[in-house]
Symmetry: C2
Subunit: 237 residues, 2 copies
């Protein structure tokens, strides 16, 4: 295999935690967790140290790792920063974006048009549209030519419920407006209007945060009590 056991362990754990398989406050017992994941404690511990650096789990010396909990304010704060960073990405990208990148953005927008032209939100279209959305944002960030933005925005996705893998695919009007933002952002970037692109992106992300917070707030209000993870648990509630 081209990848190492530590890497795959970290990836699986990250996925599980972001999915919510391990409730916040869960104490991650290394022996049990290693057994569940089918690896020894050595790669598991390395993976945990990485996740701790990403803020997904907290660490206390000689007391192990626990799954970190995020409240509504953490999510709000994440979108606050992300709105600014992605706005900055637009401002930087406007004068230097390449034709090839503009083409890719155009493709995302056009394909999104097709999906949304139905007038209703087909559940089967969720995955493709989400992929388009991710590619649109990532292309702009890449066009900004500032690697820190990509890194930091990526880190704000390391939050359960705030990741762009969570998508509110219910209200056609909301998605339609969001997609319309993409149209305008692309237009602004093509015309080299840095400030306009920045303002549009800022509002675009800020509103997405508002929608998300409004939608998921009830889910997070009940703070789980600390829970211990044992080997008999499957990790899927």
């Amino acid at each position: 295999m081209a990848t190492t056991s530590t890497q795959s362990t970290a990836e699986i754990l990250r996925e599980r935690i972001l999915e919510g398989s391990f409730p916040p406050g869960t104490i991650l017992r290394q022996d049990a967790l290693a057994q569940l994941l089918g690896v020894s404690r050595t790669p598991l511990r390395t993976a945990l140290a990485e996740l701790a650096r990403d803020g997904l789990v907290t660490y206390e010396a000689n007391r192990g790792y626990t799954v970190r909990g995020f409240d509504v304010n953490d999510i709000r704060a994440a979108f606050e920063v992300r709105a600014n960073l992605e706005g900055l990405a637009c401002r930087l990208a406007a004068p230097r974006i390449t034709g090839e990148q503009l083409d890719r953005l155009q493709r995302c927008v056009t394909e999104g048009d097709v999906i949304l032209s139905k007038g209703v939100l087909d559940p089967d279209d969720l995955a493709p549209y989400r992929r388009l959305n991710v590619e649109f944002h990532e292309t702009i960030i890449a066009a900004s030519a500032n690697p820190w933005i990509a890194d930091f925005v990526g880190r704000t996705h390391n939050v359960p419920l705030a990741s762009d893998r969570v998508f509110h695919w219910e209200d056609h009007a909301i998605i339609f407006r969001s997609h319309n933002d993409h149209h305008r952002i692309l237009k602004a970037l093509r015309d080299g209007q840095a400030m306009r692109a920045e303002a549009l992106m800022w509002e675009h992300v800020t509103n997405a945060g508002d929608v998300l917070v409004e939608h998921v707030a009830p889910k997070i209000t009940d703070r789980q009590a600390p829970v211990t993870f044992h080997s008999k648990d499957t990790g899927n509630p």
Copy 2:
């Protein structure tokens, strides 16, 4: 000891790399490095995984860790996002900063006045002034009540030469102007002028980046050839 061996190893390594003790491209041989630091390979590897997550070293599966090199563009890019993030911190802090925090900012400014009133830059004043500077910025970031900003700005300090531990303590006019910015930023925050505080901080950080880049650019132009780290090396060139 309250701290664990892994933690201290990571801290020492981080310090060493930021200082420049290990030139970019250095291949960090685990056996030799562990021997140098007086620990076994296990905690060392965990520490290295952490530093890799911070971007200080790069990792390739089955081929180990190498010290990452940063060029002028990386530093420029770091200041670009830092200027925006610290500007954002000001905007957020303006309406919610506490009296206690304003007092602390005032103290930083006043003590800085005393140091700079001499009219010349005494080398003995470098450390105290640098401490005041760090406290000023960190207080505002804390006042923004957005933990992501603190995290991300901290990460931009994880760059050799771009850390705030590097300070250009030569030109009195430059320092004086910079300190004058602090005066105005404090005034803006006290008066609740969010936009003004943001603009001032943006310019403040952007200019600091310009000065740094201009000053250190010659130092980085010569890109070191890849070098292997052996146990006989002391780590101090």
